[in-house]
């Protein structure tokens, strides 16, 4: 690579900005999307186990009842709900609404709050965690 290209000033990157909630949520949207893509393997595995094999279904349930399984499932639940709530905000942005800085800051807090409430609600309605896993 010629030196003249190397000496060009770089455009400002992540580290020059103060960390703000909206940028964290933007990154989290991608990370949870990636996690859900990998997690789709679990969904298909669950369907295949249920349809084809009694023993496989039982051992899968046993795995998801254990500590590692509960951790994975909780991450799956959180990722699905966060990505959905944040995704709805993206769809609202697509209509041209909520794009002022103030609105982005306040809706970011709303996304966090709604995600927290829905994740915990779904988790405890489904009977997860207490007792380490049933």
């Amino acid at each position: 690579m010629p030196m003249s290209i190397n000496e060009r000033p770089l455009s400002p990157h992540l580290q020059v900005y103060k960390v703000e909630l909206p940028m964290l949520l933007s990154g989290l949207h991608r990370i949870t999307g990636l996690a859900l893509s990998v997690g789709s393997i679990l969904l298909v595995a669950w369907i295949l186990c249920a349809v084809y094999s009694d023993t496989a279904f039982v051992s899968m349930n046993k795995f998801f009842g254990g500590y590692i399984g509960q951790f994975v499932l909780f991450g799956w639940t959180f990722s699905l709900i966060y990505h959905s709530v944040s995704g709805v905000r993206h769809l609202i942005w697509d209509t041209g609404s909520l794009l002022d800085v103030e609105q982005i800051l306040s809706s970011s807090k709303m996304v966090v709050a709604i995600t927290a409430v829905l994740t915990l609600l779904a988790w405890f309605l489904a009977g997860g965690f207490p007792g380490g896993g049933a």
């Binding site: 789709s40 969904l43 369907i47 349809v51 009694d54 709900i81 959905s84 995704g87 697509d94 489904a126």
Partner: protein
């Protein structure tokens, strides 16, 4: 500066070089909109199924409404995931060969997972 091959009219129409400029964005939003009710249905269903045995899970998968909804959820989610993964590979994988390989592998994986899931559900629904 390279010579521009696109005419001013084609730039103004904004359809991209092969009329597919909007395709990725549009399909991502279309699947996102479809996934809003599907995710709601899925979460509510899974809460109801939690702690149930295999027989109840199979009865749920076999019912026409839930069976179709599960197929739609699976296909739509995998399509949406594949679109998102393509963007991630484009943004973070520098080497062209690795980027292409990742995209091809992700697409094949999505089609394989979708086919395996839908085939199992159809086999369950129609017996055999």
């Amino acid at each position: 500066m390279k010579h521009r091959y696109r005419t001013p009219l084609s730039v103004a129409r904004g359809l991209g070089s092969a009329n597919h400029g909007l395709g990725h964005w549009w399909m991502q939003r279309l699947t996102a909109i479809a996934l809003v009710p599907l995710v709601l249905w899925f979460v509510v269903s899974i809460i109801a199924l939690a702690g149930q045995g295999r027989a109840q899970v199979l009865a749920w998968m076999q019912s026409p409404f839930h069976g179709v909804a599960l197929c739609l959820f699976l296909i739509t989610a995998l399509y949406h995931a594949n679109l998102g993964l393509m963007k991630i590979f484009e943004d973070y994988v520098q080497a062209r060969w690795l980027q292409l390989t990742s995209r091809i592998a992700a697409s094949f994986a999505a089609v394989f997972l979708g086919s395996a899931g839908v085939f199992a559900l159809l086999k369950l629904a129609f017996g055999g």
